[in-house]
Point group: C2
Chain length 192, copies 2
């Protein structure tokens, strides 16, 4: 496994094995909800006040550009879901976050997370590591967007997140790769 994936494992392990006092406070502070497909965890232009942990289901982050939506991320069980800039700076979000299926999520507000981080070193550490992971994930994505052709980017995706291609509609994937639906369709025809 590469360093990036190890890091992901590491913070997920830490989150799962949160020791007792921290765990208890965390459980008490967060809010578990079963939300329907299509639910907005954050709307574009609104301040993202919570971070969600996906227990089941899936979500996507996208930006509304005029009339078209451009997807920038897809999230799955175990992932922390939030609009990074909006959440950490508490400023309006540049993108929206929407559930792609009915999902079980655990919600934590900005203020609560701040308190938990200040109280428990372990929670602070998880927050830090997951942010580091996100940063490195972004670096990898830039790599792909900047250096690779559409065909290569699709191959990258297939390689890095094969499950994603099964579950996510092609129109979302196309915008995520920065190409049109038609081009993606042609790439797929060639490959297979």
């Amino acid at each position: 496994m590469n360093p990036l994936q190890e890091l992901r494992q590491r913070y997920k392990q830490l989150a799962k094995n949160l020791p007792h006092p921290a765990r208890q406070d965390y459980e008490a502070a967060c809010q578990r909800e079963l939300l329907p497909k299509g639910y907005y965890l954050c709307r574009q232009g609104a301040i993202c006040r919570q971070v969600a942990t996906l227990e089941s289901g899936s979500a996507r982050v996208f930006h509304l550009k005029g009339t078209t939506e451009v997807s920038t991320a897809f999230l799955f069980p175990g992932d922390f879901v939030t609009s990074f800039q909006s959440f950490y700076l508490q400023v309006p979000s540049q993108s929206a976050i929407q559930l792609m299926e009915e999902s079980q999520v655990t919600l934590l507000s900005y203020q609560t997370l701040q308190k938990l981080k200040a109280t428990y070193r372990e929670i602070d550490e998880i927050d830090r590591l997951s942010n580091d992971y996100y940063t490195m994930w972004l670096e990898e994505r830039i790599f792909s967007l900047q250096f690779h052709s559409a065909t290569e980017r699709y191959a990258d995706l297939l390689h890095n997140e094969p499950h994603l291609v099964q579950k996510v509609p092609l129109s979302y994937i196309a915008s995520y790769l920065g190409i049109t639906l038609e081009t993606l369709s042609r790439i797929r025809a060639k490959v297979s």
Copy 2:
């Protein structure tokens, strides 16, 4: 000013106004050097063991892809310079960092920074904020790469970092924008 630039200001302010005890320890721990143009702060494949603060001069981060270099960042006075993944995980770097001119830099090793962060809340805060800034900067860059045409990306750059276009050779800028030198040249001819 947008939230991103405010954040940048904020961590630079904090760094400049580091209170006495922390400042003294920091000064003692770091290493000031005047390094020549072309000097490698980190080579591709090596572990990046230090973070540099640029006092004067400039640097660029690039990736060697076969025979061609693709630039991924340009750094100027006041910026912290390191290979994020390599430094924070202490794993081999995917890219190289080279000085574009003779530069005065302040070097801090990984171990020393860890100690300083553990001892001084202020230094920890600066590290955190500068990482957050970097993350948001990456998000913006992805935005540009994923949504915008070559012409728009050049306009973005001109808008976000106008000084850069004066100081950096066009061949570096072209690869940074993910296009060829010739295409960049044609874009410039059209615009002006």
